[in-house]
């Protein structure tokens, strides 16, 4: 701009050692929209911060900004889906889970309406404090019948999952990894996202880590580091939090007497750890289970790197927790 002020889209992710990709969700949506004229984009004044701005610029006639009206965002998406479209509605995960619950329930999920809800800043991805930290979205939305919930690990999976949810007929809530430097991790594994499938990314005899979202990336990094200390860690990635892939999780837990550690970028209440614990009790499978998760409290503001260390969800924190559980 002439005044020298640049519009900056801040990257919510902390520095990464992995290769990165820009706007994987928005770009995947563009590719889909080229093939399917039913794809519609919606946002509530957060297009730029949910990567759907690239879709908006590519397909301006198929994008609606409803302003800061998240309740309307959900209902309008429900209305568009009723008319046969596949709306992708984006805003921050906090507003989706906390503000829009009734609207998602009544305008979308009760009728199994084909709406894709994409939530930015899931878990601890912001240093703004609780207003922007969706530490409770999996717990809140997990109680919604008919809703499929997906927590992708990296840019590659973000793209694969975007395509998969567009092809899937039914309501989906998907946590978003966004920005111009989203890490790419899963290319090193023979991986393909499938809705409802948990996948073993690496095997190991000492500890089984069961993780979702970007915590899978940190568990993989942690597993590599632990290897140097002769600790062999398996990583089971569970990108679909609902419905849970019970069979795969049970099969892995039953395989040996490994320590089981769940890891999620979410409160310890009502997320992946709770779901796995429930599953094991329901099926009378015994295991030593430890949970790496955010504490049940409103988190502090600050820098993301520090907060991730403080609350035990950084790679470093995963390594030290696994070691302490093994001792």
């Amino acid at each position: 701009m002439s005044n020298g002020i640049k519009s900056v889209i801040s990257d919510s992710n902390v520095a990464t050692n992995h290769p990165t990709m820009a706007e994987p969700f928005g770009n995947a949506l563009i590719e889909l929209a080229k093939e399917n004229d039913k794809i519609i984009g919606l946002s509530a004044d957060l297009a730029k911060y949910t990567d759907i701005h690239v879709f908006r610029d590519a397909f301006p006639q198929r994008f609606y900004n409803v302003g800061m009206s998240e309740q309307l965002l959900m209902c309008a998406a429900g209305g568009l889906a009723k008319e046969g479209f596949i709306p992708f509605a984006t805003t921050y995960a906090t507003f989706i889970a906390r503000r829009c619950y009734d609207f998602i329930s009544q305008a979308i999920c009760e009728h199994n309406t084909n709406v894709k809800i994409i939530g930015g800043l899931p878990g601890l991805q912001s240093g703004y404090g609780p207003s922007h930290q969706a530490t409770d979205d999996l717990a809140i939305l997990g109680s919604m019948p008919n809703l499929t919930i997906i927590d992708p690990c990296d840019a590659l999976e973000m793209q694969q999952a975007t395509k998969a949810v567009a092809a899937f007929n039914g309501p989906v809530y998907m946590r978003l990894l966004r920005g111009n430097r989203v890490p790419v991790v899963l290319d090193k594994y023979d991986y393909q996202f499938e809705i409802g499938k948990a996948k073993l990314l690496r095997d190991g005899a000492d500890v089984l880590m069961i993780s979702c979202g970007e915590m899978t990336m940190r568990c993989l990094d942690a597993a590599e580091a632990l290897e140097k200390d002769n600790i062999h860690a398996a990583v089971l990635h569970v990108p679909t939090v609902k419905p849970l892939d019970r069979e795969t999780i049970l099969a892995e837990v039953k395989k040996s007497g490994r320590l089981v550690v769940t890891a999620e970028n979410h409160s310890i209440v009502g997320g992946l750890g709770s779901l796995v614990a429930n599953l094991l009790v329901d099926e009378q499978v015994s295991a030593v289970l430890k949970k790496i998760a955010l504490p049940d409290r409103y988190l502090a503001a600050g820098t993301l790197e520090t907060l991730q260390d403080t609350y035990g969800v950084s790679t470093k924190a995963v390594i030290s927790q696994v070691k302490s559980y093994l001792n």
Binding site: C75, K82, E83, F85
Partner: protein, 274 residues
């Protein structure tokens, strides 16, 4: 249908209301009697649909946002053959296709679940956007209550409907003056609605919602309008219209009658006037 025929039809609709309410001897009787005239005009005059093919793509969409008034909508739908009239005798019972609050999974021709107040206009915004994308000339009618005007999402939706010039939306507010906790203007003064919707860039009309003539004129004007604005028809209605002794018994949102009351209601039910 001409005006005289619609007046007769509204009488039949009111009979259906009493028939349904009599199943459980209570219900949202007064409001539904008040809403009978404009619903008759919508279903038997203005809206385009195929009752035997309720999902027909070319239909005008009707969204009941104030879901508790489902009884009034069922009453009008029954006259147009969306379902057999003997369903009316099951209203609100176990396994009935006519639940107390409307839901699309239960009843053919019902588009949305309207029990959580304030969802109708927001959903209509998305449907209206979708219809425009499809180049459809179908309208989206949304029936709301005056108490519902206190719901925030109604105004989120009004703002977008105006800004996006969703001229295929025709909103109806049934201003009956009563809500769950009492008189609307005592619970929450939602007026002045004409000025409010005008400020949100709607084309607004305010009419006597119990005058078949006025409703016909207003709805015809809205649906034939070329103005690039969403439309809002504010209908002042009198709860209990058609059953004189219920008029003035307005304090009750949900009323029950004893055997004598029912006999009186059926015997007082009168053909509409204009």
């Amino acid at each position: 249908m001409n005006k005289e025929e619609l007046i007769d039809k509204a009488y039949e609709v009111r009979k259906n209301v009493l028939r349904m309410a009599h199943v459980d001897k209570r219900g949202f009787i007064s409001q539904s009697l008040g809403a009978a005239d404009f619903l008759t005009v919508l279903y038997s005059h203005a809206m385009r649909f195929h009752a035997d093919d309720p999902k027909w793509e070319g239909r005008d969409r009707f969204l009941l946002s104030a879901g508790h008034n489902a009884i009034a909508v069922y009453a009008a739908m029954a006259e147009e053959g969306f379902f057999p009239k003997d369903w009316l005798d099951t209203y609100g019972l176990d396994n009935s296709r006519l639940p107390m609050s409307c839901m699309p999974a239960y009843t053919p021709g019902i588009e949305i679940s309207g029990g959580s107040i304030g969802l109708g206009l927001p959903i209509a915004v998305g449907m209206a956007m979708g219809l425009k994308l499809k180049n459809s000339d179908a309208k989206v009618y949304v029936m709301m209550g005056d108490g519902e005007m206190a719901e925030g999402p109604t105004w989120e939706a009004a703002m977008s409907a105006g800004a996006y010039q969703l001229d295929n939306i025709i909103g109806i507010v049934d201003i009956n003056g009563i809500q769950a906790d009492g008189l609307t203007n005592a619970v929450m003064d939602t007026e002045p609605l004409h000025e409010k919707f005008s400020a949100f860039k709607f084309d607004v009309q305010r009419i006597n919602g119990n005058s078949i003539t006025q409703v016909m004129e207003a709805v015809d004007k809205a649906r034939n309008s070329t103005e690039k604005k969403p439309h809002m028809i504010l209908c002042d209605t009198v709860p209990g219209t058609g059953v004189p002794f219920l008029i003035g018994n307005q304090k009750s949102h949900f009323i029950s009658l004893d055997a004598e009351g029912w006999e009186r209601a059926f015997s007082e039910l009168e053909r509409g006037k204009d």
